[in-house]
Amino acid sequence: MASVLRADNLSKSFGPIEVLSGVSLDLKTGEVHAVIGENGAGKSTLMRILSGHLQPTSGVMHLNDKPTAFASPVEAEREGIVLVHQEILLAPDLTVAQNLFLGRELRRFGFVDDEAMRERTRTVLAELGTAIDPDVEIRHLSIADRQLVQIARALLVPHKIVAFDEPTAVLTPVEAESLFDIVRRLSQQGVAVLYISHRLNEVKAIADRVTVLRDGRLVATREIESLEPIEMARLMVGRDMSKLYPEKPDTASADTIMTVRHMTVPDYVDNVSFTLRRGEILGFGGLIGAGRTELFEGLVGLRRAKGTITLDDRDVYFRDARHAMASGIVYLSEDRKGKGLLLQQDLRTNLTLATLERFTRGPFINVAAEDAALDAAIGDFDIRTRRRDLLAGQLSGGNQQKLLLAKMMLAKPRIVIIDEPTRGVDIGTKEQIYRFIASLAEQGCSVIVISSEMQELIGLCHRVLVMRNGRIAGELAQADLSEDAIVFLATGVHEERAAEIAAGHA
Amino acid sequence: QQKTVTIGVSIPAATHGWTGGVVYHAQEAAKQLEKTYPGLKVVVKTSPDGAAQANALEDLSAQKIDALVVLPFNSDELTNPVREVKKGGTFVTVVDRGLKDTSIQDIYVAGNNPEFGRVAGKYMADTLKTGNVVIFRGIPTVIDEERVTNFEKALEGSGVKVLDKQYANWNRDDAFRVMQDYLSKHPKIDAVWASDDDMALGVLEAVRQAKRDDIKFVLGGAGMKEMIKRVMDGDKMIPADVSYPPAMIATAMTVTAAHFFTNAPMRGTYVLNAQLITKGNAKDHYFPDSSF
């Protein structure tokens, strides 16, 4: 096979820090080339260089054996290289169709041809297995839907190389499955696909070759046949990763700590009731749009909601997140960039934002205490930052997640609600987060895990509630936990099909 | 041996017709005087509001001026700042609006705002005998307040009634707008006291557009050359005007310069009263070359 894109010895520094050192990559036509590595290994940086968003500090690229350099992403797109970003890069005030065609609007008689663009949008989205309304503004969409729109946008331009930066991190199995179909079809058409993911099973299922990065250096490039997920993990992390999930702590006691009855969030959640026990890890499964996020945002006072919440046998009502936090309940948003972290502020500011009153001496902030807390957080949560005065937005995706965790844990909560805890997190970190969740339960905390990764729910939770269309579709006790069962409850389709979906995805 | 004298002139910025005229006359006079008296330097500074004028006064005295000619924004506000200048031994001439403490001013070239209102009111009462008038106020300031109060006082006891009064900020556009609304609101208006020639021009356009013939005339004020011309030409709508010449600044500057360059020291008050301009005496008030 001919190589379309060859990168030789690419390096990239931000200021004094080198985040990529002499990485070479050879991409062949029609192959699916996975790039894996820990959070902060430099995968996104590499992709951004290949697609013209960043200029390398040193090194050269060859496109079809001709030396090339891209001054901007637009130039790279002209050569047929498109990147689906890890973070969402869409204009929030424009509609789906308008975003898809931004900068390359279809025109008729000099005016934009909205009808045609809407039609094309619908078609492209249908290929991705979703029916997002082309006329909805992006700001109304969930992150998952935004990610799909972003993928659709990339597929719309004529492309020879498509780079997906963690496309499935925010997707559920059904959408992910459609995406894999598309990836396979692309490679059959001779398009080269670069694919970044932390879901190693996915990589095994779809990739032809795998490149592993660690600390900005190339570790290895291997054919997939010889490479099992366990081995991938070892290459990435540098140690053995045979055991991902911790022992489920046997801590779920019988006494109920919180009872939620008739919770209704207008337009999203309809009459949901459940109980939470002390020391329990309770999972919430379901498809995208099932209303899990909204349920818990309503519960902690971040959205208008009705219903009764009984905490320690007392009825409570939370006006806002502060109020909920004071009662020992914290909610970690799935949207860590939009709602979790101040991307333009430094790590210290972010870490202590929710619990500033703990870091004051008299009326003043005790910066030394904050710094100590940051040191502790960097250690405890293994936040990989090479400079501690970095802005939160400059951390790699997975490390942002760890920072968010650290931030909310400072509140010393009794009930922790984590929405998509391991979204975009590398396998080593995942294991750390799982261990952390288990240890929370051991210490008597109750943890609610909202996750679209069924393996995670199965491996971690004592009990799983599955939501569908704003209601609870069913409850699975620990013994009954299986992907089939979750998919069945989540989709409502009958069991063989559910098994197929569950199997198609690993 | 040549005598060198610096005169600082502090006046409001050209933010409407009349102050525009003041700036114009100040600059013309400065050029004229510097030509007449070699060795004389005139520094003209404008300010957009009272506080800025106080600043400008400080800055002028930092430049070591021998005399200050000031047209204060506001008597109350500027009394103290002018006093500070005076303390440095500067000769002070005050124009139009007298200071609270009259001992500060060496020369006072007085305009007379109450008189301005009174003359206009008396003209209304005399010509109309009975009828309804509407009032256009300027910008909320003491000047405006004095003019309007005395206008209304002059109407007392006559058959002339004030239907309405609104601020139109000495601005043509605002006057046009307010007049249109007056015309919608009041079915019969006999005369308009626009209190300022700029506003009178806006009023006239609104009346013309509405084709209303109940309005017998519009009385402006200040003595803008276009308006004086119309009085001279016998325009029915503009039978008269009330003078309030912006050239008073030039008078003040001339007198001040004379104090230094002639042998007769000048002191005291020069009153330039508001005068009624009618067809008879319009010629004396018409300066076609003035900008105002």
Binding site: A91, D93, F111, T130, A131, D133 | P140, S184, K185, S291
Partner: protein, 331 residues
């Protein structure tokens, strides 16, 4: 199966009229009713036509401001720019005879100078990368000074009486019973709406205001687009001046004072977000009419002392916004 689920949600949204876009109109109607209650003269055709005609300048300028603001910019210089353009236009007219061709030349000068002023703003903002607030505050001072200097502190007046008569109908005339300024501002708004909603350029303006990085990555020529919004603003100022000049036939150093605040207020009342990314041309036009209506009601009412007019006016605008906001939340 999932398909149908999602579709019903989408369908639900369709039947929910966009309150945000409608609410300025509702506020307008409420105000009109208020006016009629306060003074029966309010609802006479002549009063309403006067008010709407008067709102024309601000409305036209505000259409331009809608472009600038929804593109994430701001222009504080429009009032001074209007004064400067008016002054220059009148000087041009004074140099010609009482012919249509003179007016044509005047129109060319007005629009050309407006566009040039806008270009200056746009270039400094984009290439200097300075906050538009500062840039246009600076040019506001510059334009204002230039007109004061041109007029030597006085007034620039159209000297040729015949030409004035020829020009007068542009403000005072009417086409099919509708005053010319209203026709002009409807035309400007309609063209503005087509450009903003139906062309790629308009879409790029919104994208720029929504998220500049996204616009850049998408290959939107952001410098050109941003500069063009300021040029459009300038052209709108030029057109507004063409309607303004025949009314009083003069330009003074106070012409256009505070028009920038009025234009921005009209834009915001109309539902355009000051942070950019949302642009509502028709809302803007309604906003401009609302502003003029409130002033009109103040003069027509008899309860309010002339000292307090500003207070009541301010309160009405805040209340109108509160009403709008509660309408939007009610859905």
């Amino acid at each position: 199966m999932t398909d149908t689920l999602l579709r019903t949600a989408a369908a639900k949204r369709m039947f929910n009229p966009d309150m945000r876009a409608l609410s300025p109109f509702i506020a307008l109607i409420v105000l009109a009713i208020l006016g009629a209650v306060i003074n029966p003269d309010f609802l006479t055709a002549s009063n309403i036509l006067n008010v709407v005609t008067r709102s024309a300048f601000i409305a036209i300028i505000a259409v331009g401001a809608t472009f600038v603001i929804s593109g994430g910019g701001l222009d504080l210089s429009v009032g001074s720019m209007a004064a400067l353009v008016a002054g220059f236009t009148i000087l041009t007219l004074n140099n010609g005879g009482a012919e249509i061709s003179t007016l044509m030349l005047g129109a060319l000068v007005a629009i050309g100078l407006g566009a040039a002023c806008g270009l200056a703003n746009g270039v400094i903002v984009t290439f200097g990368r300075i906050e538009p607030f500062i840039v246009t505050l600076g040019t506001m001072g510059i334009f204002r000074s230039l007109i004061i200097w041109l007029a030597a502190g006085g007034t620039i007046t159209m000297r040729n009486a015949d030409l004035r008569e020829l020009y007068r109908p542009v403000y005072f005339g009417s086409i099919a019973g509708i005053p010319v300024p209203i026709v002009v501002f409807l035309a400007v708004a309609a063209i503005g709406a087509v450009i903003l909603y139906k062309t790629a350029f308009g879409r790029h303006v919104i994208a720029l205001g929504s998220n500049e990085d996204v616009a850049r990555y998408s290959g939107v020529p952001i410098w050109r687009v941003r500069t063009l919004t300021y040029i459009i603003q300038g052209i709108c100022v030029g057109i507004a001046v063409l309607v303004y000049v025949p009314r009083l036939g003069s330009a003074t150093p106070t012409t256009g004072l505070l028009w920038e605040l009025q234009a921005i207020t009209a834009v915001v009342i109309g539902g355009t977000a000051l942070r950019g990314g949302i642009g509502r041309i028709w809302g803007t036009v309604v906003g401009a009419i609302i502003l003029e209506l409130v002033a009109n009601i103040m003069v027509l009412s008899n309860f309010v002392s002339e000292f307090l007019v500003g207070a009541v006016q301010g309160a009405i605008i805040i209340i109108a916004m509160l009403v709008q906001r509660s309408l939007q939340r009610g859905r």
